[in-house]
């Protein structure tokens, strides 16, 4: 193989990842703009609807995502220090947290469906207009975010396998680094979803 084919441009790879994350940011940004416009139009109905979300699940999932963001950052640090076992353990914990987040989300959505709170449900069709909009945006935004949690979990599982096989190492950390960047973005988006949807007064 010629030397240039083996050349790895770590900074270029990270820049590419950041550019992708910006496109994600703008996509979620669109959903936040729609939310902001309707919040401004229906403040009371949005607050009434927001109060029906579970503060317990919302806060619990926030703590879970923040902690998993820490563990994936620590996993990268452990790889830098050539502590492979620690790195694998931290990645495993992060993936577990992703799974737990989804279980919580599932329980939360299940409870909402049982209370007849979903787009097109009897209760919401009879409620003031803003409430159905709130729940429509809630399912769309947390659903899209949940898809990102699934992708993040899959990517980090793949990274874990690569670390185990010795293909991701301290001198070639790019895959773990970019996987972690993606996971942090999932966390950043949730940081905005949480107060906007769960903490409306």
């Amino acid at each position: 193989m010629n030397p240039s084919a083996q050349h790895q441009d770590a900074e270029g790879a990270r820049l590419g990842m950041w550019l992708f994350l910006f496109s994600e940011l703008l996509m979620f940004g669109g959903l936040f703009v729609v939310f902001a416009v309707y919040l401004q139009r229906y403040p009371a109905q949005f607050a009434d609807a927001g109060r029906q979300l579970s503060l317990f699940f919302g806060t619990g999932n926030t703590v879970l995502l923040l902690t998993s963001s820490l563990t994936v950052a620590l996993a990268f640090e452990a790889l830098r220090q050539n502590r492979q076992r620690l790195c694998q353990g931290l990645l495993g914990f992060t993936i577990l947290a992703a799974g737990l987040f989804l279980v919580n989300k599932g329980l939360e959505w299940h409870a909402k469906f049982q209370h007849d709170l979903y787009p097109g449900s009897q209760t919401l069709r009879q409620a003031p207009a803003g409430q159905e909009l709130f729940f429509g945006l809630y399912y769309l935004t947390t659903g899209l975010h949940g898809l990102h949690v699934i992708f993040g979990g899959v990517i980090l599982s793949w990274v874990l396998v690569q670390v185990r096989q010795g293909r991701i190492i301290a001198t070639r950390p790019t895959m773990l680094e970019n996987g972690a960047l993606y996971w942090h973005l999932v966390d950043v988006i949730w940081i905005f979803i949480f107060p906007l949807y769960y903490l409306l007064l």
Binding site: V37, E77, P195, L200, L201
Partner: protein, 94 residues
């Protein structure tokens, strides 16, 4: 060779940032239970921006990155701000 104590410092720093993020989560939940009128939403957004900045600067290592990533982040945020600003300019004064 790698400096061991320096690396331990890096891990400790990440854990401190995580602690700060948890504290800010508690603060934002606490403030949301008080009735501050229009201030509530701005406090929530301000704290969320602070938390996001901590994640981006420390967990995502923006502090250690070169200029290319920093400037492109600013461009992305400015694009988003323009998008939000122009939308509200339309919606509020229609």
């Amino acid at each position: 060779m790698h400096n061991h104590s320096q690396h331990c410092g890096a891990m400790r720093q990440l854990i401190v940032i995580w602690g700060l993020l948890l504290v800010l989560t508690g603060v934002t939940v606490g403030i949301s239970r008080l009735d501050l009128g229009a201030l509530n939403i701005w406090a929530a957004l301000g704290i969320a921006t602070g938390k996001a900045s901590l994640v981006i600067l420390f967990f995502m290592h923006l502090k250690e990155e070169g200029r290319a990533i920093g400037i492109s982040l600013l461009v992305a945020l400015a694009t988003l701000a323009t998008f939000i600003g122009l939308t509200f300019f339309d919606v509020l004064y229609r």
